[in-house]
């Protein structure tokens, strides 16, 4: 779909993760990548509040071809990214996804295993195994937040890997950036989808 300069379409992305998984960081890097990609309006925010390690948390990214004039929390997103598939049982993840939206999961399961009763597109990628294999581990924690940016790029087609690479390099030292981008690349390649998803065209 071609977005022109007058296009006020906002792409809302909601991130679900656990405190410490880096969902907020991923939301911010995606915003930066979208800006590099040419979107003039971008915002990223954590769910405003207090967070604890391990507890379910959310963060949001918004991007648009024109400046964004809303700062209120996202109610229904075009894309939802879940960093821990077990959150599907504790949080109403699908409640925050539009009926024709895209769900991206960090999972070793095929996409067909999720939400077969809905019209949504589902993408899965086993970011955990990839991150572990390449040594994207800090203090015993496997880091999958930046890897899932690769799954986002592949499944949504909204932000290029070139822009993601630039955004990742701006946020980490050269060595860490290399590792994080490698994770994103491999996760991109390993992403499987139940069908091709396009950003739905809506009448303003």
């Amino acid at each position: 779909m071609v977005l022109n300069d007058k296009d006020q379409t906002i792409i809302n992305v909601t991130w679900h993760g656990r405190g410490g998984q880096g969902a907020v960081t991923a939301a911010m890097i995606l915003a930066e990548a979208a800006y590099i990609d040419g979107y003039r309006g971008v915002t990223a925010a954590p769910f405003f509040g207090v967070e604890r390690r391990g507890a379910p948390i959310t963060a949001t990214t918004r991007f648009s071809r024109t400046p964004i004039r809303t700062l209120t929390p996202t109610a229904k997103a075009e894309v939802v990214v879940v960093l821990d598939e077990r959150l599907m049982q504790v949080v109403d993840v699908l409640g925050g996804l539009k009926a024709d939206g895209l769900l991206i999961l960090n999972s070793s399961n095929p996409p067909e295993k999720f939400c077969a009763d809905r019209d949504i597109a589902v993408a899965t990628s086993d970011a955990n195994s990839i991150a572990e294999e390449i040594g994207l581990v800090v203090a015993g924690t496997v880091l999958i937040n930046t890897s899932l940016l690769g799954a986002f790029s592949k499944a949504s087609g909204l932000v290029s890997m070139e822009s993601l690479e630039k955004a990742i390099r701006k946020n980490f030292n050269p060595k860490a950036a290399q590792l994080n981008f490698r994770g994103a690349q491999l996760t991109y390649e390993a992403t499987r989808t139940n069908r091709v998803w396009h950003l739905p065209v809506r009448q303003n």
Binding site: V42, A44, L71
Partner: protein
């Protein structure tokens, strides 16, 4: 970042959510040597502002930042800073006050400090925060009155968005080093705190010096003229940086609008979306977003509202027992000009309650349906 670019010399601040990131970032700049300032660690906000007052008194460019209860704790010293005519610039991440406890956004904190003599500017987005800090020093150092740069806590303070960061050389050209207008410990040392009496009194040289009220009158006279300085500096800023602030309020589609939504801070963005939605339904609406609250831009407001038949005022604060502060002040400004539009006052977003464009649209439609004056403030979206 604004404080760094302004080359502040002394920083004193005490952490409080959602402001904490500001002192944390500044400490890093100071520790890494990127910013040649003194960061003075204090045990409270009261001390933070006291340090700023002392450093500013002896001629340093100073910065502090706080929120909510921290600002309330500074209250006594806020009066002192303004009374002593010190050009302090403070970043204020607006947050509601306890009890009950909240860490989230509303404007009760800064509105409660309305009468301390400080100038107050409210920002729509993060670019405006940075720009307002830079302009803040230029304005404050001209009029010798401190300034609060207010912005919605979390809504702006914790949202990442693109911000153009000016080059240091550009900022240096716009904002030269601070030259204090008097030197406490100079060749002729001065005493800055004799107790003032109610009547003018001669000093040691036999020259009649102003009374307490004389000082107060001068502060008021300065603030009455400060609006012009704010707009002038905003215009100069625009010439250098390409973003003009030569206005005390923002207008959106106000031409030929019979209904105006009046907002302050980041809510002005949502209001502009609400107006787009209302116009699609055939309602001639517009937005007036207050940028400056002190000095109050009464004249500009009268002009902007002169064609309005209805004004819907949204306040993220309330003066208990009356109504929202911007509503009261707007009514007073309109009375002076003999303007009598129908006015509704909606109290919104207290303690971080989200306010979407559709909420503002709904409130406006509700008011238009009432066709008349509404008694007392309405609470938007509250069922319990």
């Amino acid at each position: 970042m604004g404080a760094k670019l302004s080359r502040v010399q002394v920083i004193a601040a005490y952490p409080i959510t959602p402001q904490s990131k500001i002192p944390e970032t500044l400490v890093k700049y100071v520790e890494s040597g990127e910013l040649g300032a003194e960061f003075i660690r204090v045990e409270s906000e009261h001390s933070a502002l006291t340090v700023c007052i002392s450093a500013s008194t002896v001629g340093a460019r100073v910065f502090t930042a706080t929120s909510a209860n921290g600002l309330a704790y500074m209250h006594e010293q806020l009066h002192w800073a303004a009374g002593a005519r010190l050009p302090i610039v403070m970043a204020l991440a607006n947050r509601g006050l306890g009890a009950p406890w909240t860490i989230f956004n509303d404007m009760q904190d800064s509105i409660s400090q309305r009468d301390t003599g400080w100038m107050q500017i409210y920002c729509r987005d993060n670019q405006e925060i940075l720009d307002s800090i830079l302009m803040g020093y230029k304005i404050s150092e001209q009029v010798h009155v401190p300034m609060m740069v207010c912005f919605d806590g979390f809504v702006l303070s914790h949202t990442v968005m693109p911000v153009e960061i000016p080059e240091q050389e550009q900022v240096d050209a716009f904002l030269p080093p601070y030259v204090p207008h008097l030197q406490v410990d100079g060749p002729e040392p001065i005493n800055i705190n004799p107790v003032m009496l109610a009547e003018p009194r001669a000093n040691a040289q036999g020259v009649a010096c102003p009374s307490y009220m004389g000082f107060r009158m001068r502060l008021q006279e300065t603030l009455e003229k400060a609006g012009e300085v704010i707009a002038k500096v905003g215009g100069e800023f625009g010439k250098i940086f390409g973003r003009s602030y030569d206005c005390l309020l923002w207008e959106y589609k106000t031409e030929e609008a019979d209904t105006i939504l009046l907002t302050m801070g980041s809510l002005t963005n949502e209001a502009s979306l609400a107006v787009d939605m209302l116009r699609e339904k055939g309602h001639k609406t517009g937005v007036v977003g207050l940028r400056v609250f002190r000095p109050f831009p009464a004249q500009q407001l009268r002009q902007a509202l002169s064609g309005a038949k209805q004004v819907v005022i949204f306040d993220k604060n309330i003066s208990y027992g009356n109504e929202g502060a911007t509503c009261t002040e707007t009514k007073a400004a309109l009375f002076e000009g003999g303007l009598r539009p129908s006015i509704a006052n909606y109290i919104v977003g207290l303690g971080g309650k989200p306010v979407a464009a559709s909420d503002l649209e709904g409130a406006t439609l509700e008011f238009l349906g009432m066709k008349g004056r509404v008694n007392g403030p309405q609470w938007l979206g509250i069922s319990v």
